[in-house]
Symmetry: C2
Subunit: 474 residues, 2 copies
């Protein structure tokens, strides 16, 4: 009997291997030093390994943790302040964003993690410009971080629709230096749990020269470029104003579309442009809730898949989406596509479950490490309580309803245990690597000062939510 | 000081009075013998009343309980078995429905209640043909039941698309007798908590004569007709085959459209037909999740509202929707309309919150009793935990984010207390009037026999989910 760190056994397992969901009954996972060393029938695994800890729960489902391929969790601090409005970025988000200090954002980041981790997210694809501090938090909390430090040449302020953004070269240069420094310090840390990606914020937020240089530096280091692409009519307008071209053809001409690119959103991509990106080898990240609420649009993920591309899912940011919960993203992705295509067979449950796990991992360059339960991959897994009302009843024949219930009924609170690299981070409501009570207290405290500091801009914009407040609708 | 049963006080209150959400800070509700006797500033209420029980919790929101205007909770027993498929009713639901006994359905009903009650639903608009037993359960559990016994002339079996349903007059007659008996026994019971509506199942499920008679009998008793209307192309096809007319014009010619009618779905209604129903005084029930997943359609609720109609929300049934949770219905209603109209300002949070409470109550004929917190109405209320991560942070200025967070971030598990007629039915995870453990055990037990009995029909239909099982996708 080989001594190892952990065996986790469950009556139902979704490994996500192969082309489907890799269902197995009564199976167990053996994990040692963070790595999956075996997966097999429970009795066989228990006969071969002597684990330091055995997790064996009746009426649970064992499956890989979720990959949130793209998010800005620090903005959780502005949850519920930017929705139901047109011109989201300038009229919804930015009146508040300017009043948020780096300290506030780090508490917002922790708040986002509270929500995401409890709902089974094990890989955070966070995208921000505070990545030195956030990488340290991720390392400390034991999560997997596929972290992107952003680079832009445009200092933030509220622009009116149709106003061309002004670039500041020194600003962009500083961002790039900071990114290179971050990469050197953090990439590969925490036994490889932390990876650093390069994040030019969008083709409209920095100039052509810097955009090219970021890519070149990324390739030199063997990492990927994580870029907002065609993220809405606001961006398209900027690109047409500046270059007289739409984003995707413009990027293609500059050799930007290839397997090194993670293209986020594609909100405003035509069918033809979508196929162009998919065929280039770039991956797509779909943020269904965020783009649905911000733009009223369902990005063309089905077209991207049909053209042979790989798609991951992202929760984007709380002001807008208002959630960091991959159950929410799976469900909305399935439902929104049924509506977009007026077809109840569009985007079935198993397909979106793959996007949130194994395909999501491939989309962000972690396909060899996580996303499925397979020997050699890292021990990132969750247990789901099958006695939660939303997961009941449990049918095994003539069809299993596990996957439909996970996607369409579960809300996230069915997750009862979350582990990364075989280390349990969350169990039955308790966070083992972060102080949830402290996060709550700090987050409750910082709202009033942010609100006060935002008041003048909020009033001057006179947006939809300003009107709703006046009318007693909020 | 007047002695009363209950005072509930909270730092934030949404009364849902007036045209908005009726926000009040630090307020309390005084309830006596089931009725709201006063609502005012907490200190004022506590100075005027001596309650037997005082519920006063920091960091909570007090608001009316939700009205689920239309559901079939007994079908929770088939959760997760009918989705991702075309021809939902015949190919998704019916292969299983025939194997479900009345006893199974009553356990399914209890399972649905577990989910709904914990998520703040206080009024159940259940629609079924087991209403004698369900009314007894509702009375026992202390909920408010706006219950509809269905009447149809068509015995259930799987029909192929295009096959005209065959009616059985004796079957319909028996249903009507049963309904009249139910009304006599149950309407008004439980201090008025139970109301009985008349439910002809749909204009395609019974003939013209019986449809007319059900309405006549309903009007004679001062209750409403609760009817599936234009619920999809399946129904439209039946109406064209049988009468050569689409549903809504056909109903109008027969004087069926007026304020006595609750019209559910309108999935297949044209814009003009929708306005016709709205202007007739009939109300609409919108089941966003259900119709989205079953048909890939967003029913025309915005048009209905614009034409002056009143709209409530319903969770419909678990196989399909897969949820009985009004938070889910509110969120999807808002998001689906943004997508349908490609407009982020379509269906803002406050509007769908009204549909789930005060407008929903009006839509089903309970506008004088529930849906808002006002003196004279019944004491149906919930408390929401504002320390749940999804409800944080809490901003009060320059805009309140309470309503957006309720609609877009909350998932239902933020509800910490639910009361009907001033009686607490659910508190901090505990169900005080039903045995949740017994429901879980029974529901887990009945899946295998239902699955076994359905196997042959499921296989013979060879639908999408059959193929998914073969391919390892479930």
């Amino acid at each position: 009997m080989r001594s190892i760190d952990l065996v986790v056994a469950a009556p139902h397992v979704l490994t996500m291997e192969g082309e489907g969901v890799g269902y197995r009954a009564d199976s167990a996972l053996a994990v040692d030093r963070g790595r999956i060393v075996a997966l097999g029938p429970t009795e066989e695994i228990l006969g071969a390994y002597a684990p330091e800890r055995l997790i064996r729960r009746p009426r649970t489902l064992l499956m890989p943790g979720f990959v949130d391929a793209h998010c800005h969790m620090e903005l959780s601090v502005l949850r519920g302040l930017a929705q139901d409005t047109g011109h989201w970025m300038m009229y919804g988000l930015n009146p508040f964003k300017g009043s948020v200090s780096p300290r506030d954002r780090l508490w917002g980041f922790r708040l986002g993690v509270l929500e995401a981790l409890a709902a089974g997210t094990t890989t955070l694809g966070n995208y921000d410009d505070l990545m030195h501090q956030e990488a340290a938090l991720v390392e400390e909390m034991g999560l997997r971080g596929n972290l992107t430090q952003l680079v832009r040449e445009m200092p933030e302020r509220v622009y009116a629709p149709g106003e061309l953004y002004r670039f500041d070269e020194a600003y962009g240069r500083r961002d790039l230096e900071n990114l290179l420094d971050l990469f050197d310090r953090w990439d590969g840390r925490g036994d490889g749990r932390i990876r650093i990606l390069f994040g030019p914020m969008g083709p409209d937020f920095l100039g052509e020269a810097l955009l090219g240089e970021v890519r070149e530096q990324a390739l030199r280091r063997g990492t990927r470029v994580h870029l907002h692409v065609a993220q809405g009519d606001r961006e398209t307008e900027q690109m047409l104003l500046r270059y007289g071209k739409r984003t995707i053809p413009w990027l293609q001409e500059r050799g930007y579309l290839d397997e090194h690119l993670i293209a986020v959103h594609l909100t405003d991509a035509t069918e033809e442009e979508t196929r162009l990106v998919a065929r280039s080898g770039a991956s797509m990240v779909l943020c269904s809730n965020s783009i649905g609420i911000i733009d009223g649009v369902v990005p063309p993920a089905r077209t991207f898949l049909e053209a042979g591309g790989v798609v991951g899912l992202g929760s984007d940011q709380a002001p807008g989406n208002n959630n960091h919960n991959m159950f929410n993203e799976m469900k909305l992705t399935a439902l929104f596509h049924k509506i977009r295509h007026q077809d109840p067979e569009a985007m079935p449950a198993w397909k979106v479950l793959r996007m949130a796990t194994v395909e999501g991992a491939r989309a962000v360059g972690l396909g060899d490490r996580v996303g499925s339960l397979e020997e050699g991959k890292r021990g990132d897994f969750i247990l789901v309580d099958l006695q939660a009302p939303t997961m009941m009843p449990l049918f095994v024949r003539p069809m299993r309803n596990l996957v439909p219930n996970l996607v369409y009924a579960a809300r996230g609170n069915e997750v009862c245990l979350v582990a990364v690299d075989g280390r349990v981070l969350y169990e039955d409501g308790a966070f083992l690597t972060l102080d949830a009570e402290e996060v709550r207290e700090e987050v409750l405290r910082l709202a009033d000062p942010i609100g006060e500091a935002s008041e003048e801009t909020f009033r001057s914009v006179r947006g939809t939510n300003f009107r709703f407040m006046e009318e007693g609708k909020l």
